[in-house]
């Protein structure tokens, strides 16, 4: 096997492994948030959680796949490792970005849900009696 093929295979193994790990973390720890957002409706929370993770997988694996191509030749193992570190670094940054984006979605859903029962922003100017409608 040439250095290129080994670099590609290692790249795929690391990126896919990382994606699975982050998605698993998200799936496991996001559930608590979602159950709270949906007022204890666990089937709905599980469903939304699953759908979010599917989207996460699609975007990340899509990026991993698009970013595979190196575009230049590798002669030595040193060049292979350097190319690998750049590629894996990019995947890590995209994964990090996606992870924070997911956290942002979770926290926004939670805030929206808590607003539903929030009191008015200001007090009234006066009071009046209420007649018939």
């Amino acid at each position: 096997m040439t250095v290129e093929i080994i670099t590609y295979l290692v790249y795929l193994a690391i990126s896919i492994g990382l994606t699975i790990w982050v998605a698993h973390t998200l799936h496991k720890n996001g559930r608590v948030f979602l159950v709270d957002v949906f007022h204890g409706n666990e089937p709905l929370a599980d469903s939304v959680n699953h759908l979010l993770v599917v989207g996460f997988y699609l975007i990340n694996l899509g990026y991993v796949s698009l970013a595979l191509k190196l575009g230049y030749n590798l002669a030595t193992a040193r060049e292979g490792i350097e190319a690998l570190s750049v590629k894996v670094g990019m995947v890590l940054i995209v994964l990090g970005g996606m992870h924070f984006f997911n956290l942002f979605i979770f926290s926004r859903m939670r805030r929206r849900a808590s607003l539903r029962h929030a009191p008015p922003p200001i007090g009234p100017d006066a009071f009046t009696s209420v007649g018939e409608a």
């Binding site: 607003l115 200001i122 100017d125 006066a126 009071f127 009046t128 009696s129 209420v130 007649g131 409608a133």
Partner: protein
Amino acid sequence: MTSLIVLYDPLCGLCLRVRGWLEGQPKLVPLVMVPAKSEEAHRRFPHLDHAPTIKDLTVVSDQGAVYYGPKAWLMVLWALGRYREWSYRLATPELLPTTRRIVSLISQHRYQISRAAHLSR
């Protein structure tokens, strides 16, 4: 609080346009639109001073809490599912003076705005 009664100026094109927009918005608290100083308004709130309700937007809760002008607008925003967050943001001490200024400005010039934008009544 289970509903808010909005007393709006039925002679202003802008107000009618906003009313139409409000009707299409998802609500967390139902809004009941009643023309200001109308018979229905007097029937619903027999002891309310109705003179200011034609000058500024007025919102009355089903429990009788009265909100005038900028406060009325904040209550309307609060009732809307998509804008409840904004009602808190605009009511913070930092933004409330600006909110008051802008709302009174629009309210004072509502007939000019309606005419300029060709919003018929």
